[in-house]
Amino acid sequence: MGVLNDVARAAKSIVKGHMVTLREIFKPPMTIRYPDEKPEQPKGSRGMPVLKVNAETGELNCTACGLCARSCPPGCIEVIEETDANGKRMRRPLAYNLDMGKCMVCNLCIEACPFDALEMAANFEISVYDPENLVFNKDQLATIWKNYDAVRIAGGEKL
């Protein structure tokens, strides 16, 4: 009789499991068809850091102070300040390179920036064929900031 009881209990537990699956059949799917349907990203979602452009002057907010580069754990930011012929510092970047191959999207550069020059874009689709293309220069970063859907940019208030 012990064996029969075991069999009965096992059969019952398996039927119970299948009932859970049966209930799921009538529910709408939880998944989305990703490349065609984009996932909904909340405000503040971190994708990649980009450079902000001043709306009035059309120039970058960045003053090439290098605080972001110093606060970056993997060291993926490279800032070179522009100087004029006399060697005077112009307080704007000659080059601003961001290596997304190294970046770990930790948000520390944005928190370090005292000039509101950096922002986290929600853009997460940055795959490329050539790893060299993962290094973004300042024009590319500004273009991403300008072109990216304003709703999905993690901007406005500083989180």
């Binding site: 119970k16 859970v20 799921e24 939880m30 990203q41 503040g44 754990p73 770990m104 930790c106 520390l108």
Partner: protein
């Protein structure tokens, strides 16, 4: 579990004979095979095996299909964590600590952040502390959900995996709303939290907890835990006696599964856990089934704690007022937290600078992996998979 046995700690600790090193095992197997004594086989299990939860290589000595010895070989995910952070400031260590145990990032952050706070004597505001408890327990829930899904899948139940990941995705969406990231948050700061949570978020969390408690959680029991196949596959498999668990330094659900009531949230409350009511589930036999039951019950305890936090969440700031440059005094501190896997500890030595002089990371996964030969000896290869799944290791933390 009506007949829960509480065993006193420290009683009957005995020295367990050391397992052989890998070279010794290889040599022995080779010699025995040459002598033709026993038909033994040396098999690599992993590092590309899907049931090893990452990149773990287990060197198996088999007799037929019985495991004679199982020696884990680690280091495939080694990233030199402890050395790299030595040149960094404390703020930079926090996001990198996420990458250790990537399934419970908040717990790692709390270990690092708490160590610095303890060294500097920083008092986190009450709302900050309560919110830390909240995200900590939500993280425990997500981590146990992943364990549930992958453990069931190790035993061939693919459906449960998808059920668990459905709830986990909702958790991660909640995390993304307040922290900005889904897996590696960098949310905790030295002295508090990066940002406050809005009330609308708390409502969403409440909705999630209701759904989880009513629908998802009972379905996990129906699908897997109460299933007869699951019971047969896990009962009596991978037994760790309380003495062995203590001798090897096990912690977390592995230790509690062996029947020892030891939880840092009760024993050494690192956050205001003493203000909340919750139970510590313990097992009796120390087998894979008991560890599974302990984790399943812990999920509900986490939900209980989150509800209490939400009910009593005080107003106020979440971040303490701090000097611009953090320079802890010279000294050393050990800070430990109860992560979903066990005791995560940070041993921090400061030389008075802006960054750590040395950090030692105490990883529960590494300790538990050393129990694998003890658990697997004498079982079948299929049960070895159960053993690996039941200790819930994250290889990122084993190798660091």
């Amino acid at each position: 579990m009506a007949d829960q046995i509480e065993r006193s700690i420290g009683a009957g600790v005995q020295v367990i004979e050391d397992a052989e090193t890998m070279e010794e095992a290889l040599r022995r197997a080779h010699l025995e095979e040459q002598a033709g004594e026993r038909r033994r086989m040396l098999v690599n299990f992993g590092p590309q095996h899907p049931s090893t939860h990452g990149v773990l290589r287990v060197l198996l000595t088999l007799e037929g299909e019985t495991v004679i010895d199982a020696q884990p070989d680690i280091g495939y995910l080694h990233r030199n964590w402890e050395k790299i952070v030595e040149g960094w400031t404390y703020a930079m260590v926090v996001p990198f600590s996420d990458r250790n145990d990537y399934l419970a990032a908040i717990c790692n952050e709390q270990a690092v952040v708490g160590a610095v706070e303890r060294l500097m004597g920083i008092e986190v505001p009450e709302r900050g502390q309560f919110l830390r408890v909240l995200v900590f327990e939500l993280q425990r829930l997500t981590s146990h959900l992943i364990w549930f899904g992958t453990f069931a899948m190790d035993m061939g139940a693919t459906t449960a995996f998808l059920h668990a990941f459905r709830e986990r995705e909702r958790c991660y969406s909640l995390f993304e709303e307040i922290t900005g990231a889904r897996l590696l948050y960098n949310y905790l700061r030295i002295g508090g939290l990066r940002n406050d949570v809005p009330d609308s978020w708390l409502k969403k969390l409440e909705q999630f907890l209701d759904d989880f408690e009513k629908e998802a959680y009972p379905s996990y029991w129906d699908l897997v835990i109460n299933n007869e196949i699951f019971r047969v596959r896990t009962k009596g498999i991978g037994v760790i006696t309380p003495e062995q668990a203590i001798a090897y330094g096990a912690s977390g659900p592995v230790l509690r599964g062996s029947g020892i009531r030891w939880d840092l949230r009760k024993v050494d409350p690192f956050l205001p856990y003493d203000q909340f009511e919750f139970d510590i589930p313990v097992g009796t036999n120390g087998d894979a089934y008991d560890r599974a039951i302990v984790r399943m019950k812990e999920m509900m305890e986490s939900v209980k704690i989150i509800r209490q936090v939400m009910k009593r969440l005080p107003d106020g700031p979440v971040m303490a007022k701090l000097p611009r440059a953090l320079r802890p005094p010279k000294g050393q501190v050990y800070n430990r937290v109860e992560s979903p896997r066990g005791e995560v500890g940070v041993y921090l030595i400061s030389d008075g600078g802006t960054g750590p002089y040395r950090i030692k990371w105490r990883s529960p996964c590494f300790t538990h992996l050393m129990l694998l030969p003890v658990m697997a000896r004498g079982h079948l290869v299929a049960d070895l998979v159960t053993c690996i799944g039941s200790i819930d290791i994250v290889l990122g933390e084993v190798d660091r």
